[in-house]
């Protein structure tokens, strides 16, 4: 272990993560309550590099428009549970996606995911975070995802999404309603540490902004969507973080419908 972290209040958990031990609810709550984000980053980065080495996968999201995924996102369609397997892409207004997801409970969401996995589909899980839920509820949900993944192995990636107050337009926000940098990095790092059986952790770049998105690659993240960035800018960001950019083929991924 790095000698620089020996004094961390999370030293016992660092040792567990280093020896590959799974963390429980109680440990997860401690992680979320700690302000030692560098220790969280240290643990998350260990898991990240074990799973994905130095690679950061990225996808140019705009292309999704041309695939068969788009129709289920059309504005006229009633929100249906099928849509939830699709997830987010740059063609849907952020608010309507959030609204859609809020129409099912988390328990129902997990059932839908499991059903999809049983049909042989690969899906991508998301979780809302923010002040509407307690820390314990966040961790409990992550552990439920981990159990489900133990049973089905169907999740390819996980993305925590900040829960904005209803009607928030991202462009108009001036900070006050936003998550903080600590919250975003903690949620990503803790997800990476706890979800030891999910391959990829994805950051939602439009919420984090390019600077924090780049930093998040040291806090567990190994998957990015381009959103509003150009491919060149995204590759620059990844390389300047010392990571190796690997482009994912949008078409192949979208065949499983569920990969956002």
């Amino acid at each position: 272990m790095s000698s620089l972290f020996v004094q961390s209040e999370l030293i016992d958990l660092i040792e567990k993560v280093e020896s590959g031990e799974r963390l429980d609810l109680f440990a997860g709550i401690r992680l979320m309550n700690s302000q030692d984000i560098l220790a969280l980053g240290y643990m998350a980065n260990l898991v990240r590099e074990q799973k994905n080495g130095n690679r950061t996968y990225f996808r140019i999201t705009r292309q999704i428009k041309d695939t068969n995924v788009t129709p289920i996102f059309s504005d006229q369609a009633d929100p249906s549970e099928l849509q939830l397997m699709g997830g987010l892409n740059s063609e849907i207004p952020f608010e309507s996606y959030v609204e859609m997801l809020h129409q099912v409970s988390e328990a129902r969401y997990l059932e839908i995911q499991e059903a999809a996995h049983r049909l042989g589909m690969h899906t991508n899980a998301i979780m809302f975070y923010g002040h509407a839920k307690s820390i314990e509820e966040h961790i409990d949900y992550l552990l439920k995802l981990r159990e489900l993944q133990d049973r089905t192995g169907g999740f390819q990636s996980f993305m925590p999404l900040y829960h904005y107050p209803k009607g928030t337009k991202l462009e108009e926000m001036m900070g006050v309603e936003d998550s903080t940098g600590f919250e975003d990095l903690k949620m990503l790092a803790v997800s990476r540490i706890l979800l030891d059986n999910v391959d990829h952790i994805q950051a939602f770049g439009s919420v984090l902004g390019p600077k924090l998105t780049q930093v998040s690659m040291t806090f567990g993240v190994d998957f990015l969507d381009s959103h509003t960035m150009t491919k060149r800018a995204l590759i620059h960001l990844i390389e300047k973080a010392g990571r190796e950019p690997v482009e994912q083929d949008t078409f192949v991924l979208s065949e499983s419908i569920s990969f956002w």
Partner: protein, 360 residues
């Protein structure tokens, strides 16, 4: 496993001073988390209280006319340009009045180098402010002081003395960019050299005034030049002890002649952390929400920063370069508290004025 860069960080934690070569190695090779952890541990040594401070102030740009034409600057107009302005006394005083009303304690009055404004103009301006308001004047960076010295055919010591006698309390560290003349020649060929910048600061220190030092990085400078900048500040500080804070920020390229990619978030945190490790004799390190945004500035509190800088009621220069961040006071307090610190308003001398709590 203990890497070479970890050994350098541990050397600093044991109280040893880092060399130029150490600094370069850290910028080049150290991983982001080790740098952050090292800087955070040093910050805890230097500031064991769990406090992050900020100052309520206003940045007032008295003119945007500037004869210097720096290539990284998106703010200035050439003399004679119809877009050029000089703030009237009424507007200036109204801005000061507003600043005091929101609890502000400091004015950062800075401008371009306007060919028609001389030392007497600023002496009058300072006396007029001090006659009407009780507020700390932290104003006129070294290029402006040199410009006044040249226009009035006086030495900088005489200029600083006269400005001080008229009401100037301290000098901001602007115009430092990178304290190396190869870099300055490329990005701001008409600006004072690094030694002239430092002469203003050490002269002010000897006259009993405090100053800050900034660094604008992420353009044409090498890692070595970035470290040299820090070491030059450190050496001057050994002599005078007059620097209260170091304030690094990254170059914002849009609308500038210099252009380019600009520096990334990771680069900012790395540079900030290395500054905390190198500058063992400068007490305070500011996070720059103006160039990095609130989220990154909060994260910077784990990479060596112990101060959130100023509330900046107005920041024309950065806004002209396309950075549109505005972080109100409540957001600064929320960021500080959410990171686990107590938020405290300070004055220019880093004396604590008032503890703040987030309004719920």
């Amino acid at each position: 496993m203990r890497t070479e860069t970890q050994a350098i960080i541990e050397k600093r934690l044991a109280g040893e001073r880092l060399s130029v070569a150490d600094g370069i190695r850290l910028l080049q090779n150290a991983d982001l988390l080790s740098l952050g952890q090292g800087a955070d541990l040093v910050r805890k040594q230097m500031h064991p209280e769990n406090i992050v401070s900020f100052v309520i102030d206003r940045n007032i740009n008295y003119t945007n006319v500037c004869s210097c034409q720096c290539k990284f600057c998106a703010f200035y107009c050439k003399p004679g340009d119809p877009e050029g302005y000089i703030l009237s006394r009424d507007v200036l005083h109204a801005k000061i009045e507003e600043t005091i009303q929101v609890g502000g304690t400091q004015l950062l009055i800075q401008g371009g180098l306007h060919p028609d404004l001389d030392l007497e103009y600023f002496e009058k301006l300072l006396r007029d402010i001090k006659a009407h308001f009780s507020i700390h004047i932290h104003s006129f960076s070294p290029p402006e002081i040199w410009d006044l010295a040249n226009k009035s055919q006086l030495g900088i010591e005489e200029v600083i003395r006269r400005l001080r006698d008229a009401g100037l309390d301290s000098i901001p560290g602007g115009g430092a960019e990178i304290l190396d003349d190869r870099v300055r020649h490329q990005i701001s060929p008409n600006k004072i050299g690094w030694q002239q910048w430092m002469d203003v600061m050490t002269t002010a220190h000897k006259l009993g005034m405090k100053t800050t030092a900034t660094m604008m990085f992420g353009h044409v400078e090498t890692f070595e030049e970035r470290i040299l900048h820090m070491v030059r500040v450190r050496e001057a500080q050994d002599q005078t002890g007059g620097f209260t804070a170091f304030i690094p920020w990254s170059f914002a390229p849009s609308n500038t002649e210099l252009g380019g990619e600009g520096s990334t978030g990771v680069e900012y945190l790395r540079t900030l952390a290395v500054a905390r490790l190198m500058l063992d004799n400068v007490p305070n390190l500011q996070a720059s929400w103006v160039t990095q945004g609130a989220k990154m500035a909060q994260v910077a509190l784990r990479f060596g920063a112990n101060d959130f800088g100023s509330t900046m009621l107005e920041e024309n220069v950065v806004r002209a370069a396309g950075v549109k961040t505005r972080v109100p006071l409540q957001e600064i307090i929320r960021c500080i508290e959410d990171a686990g610190y107590q938020a405290v308003q300070r004055n220019t001398h880093y004396e604590r004025l008032k503890a703040f709590r987030k309004e719920v």
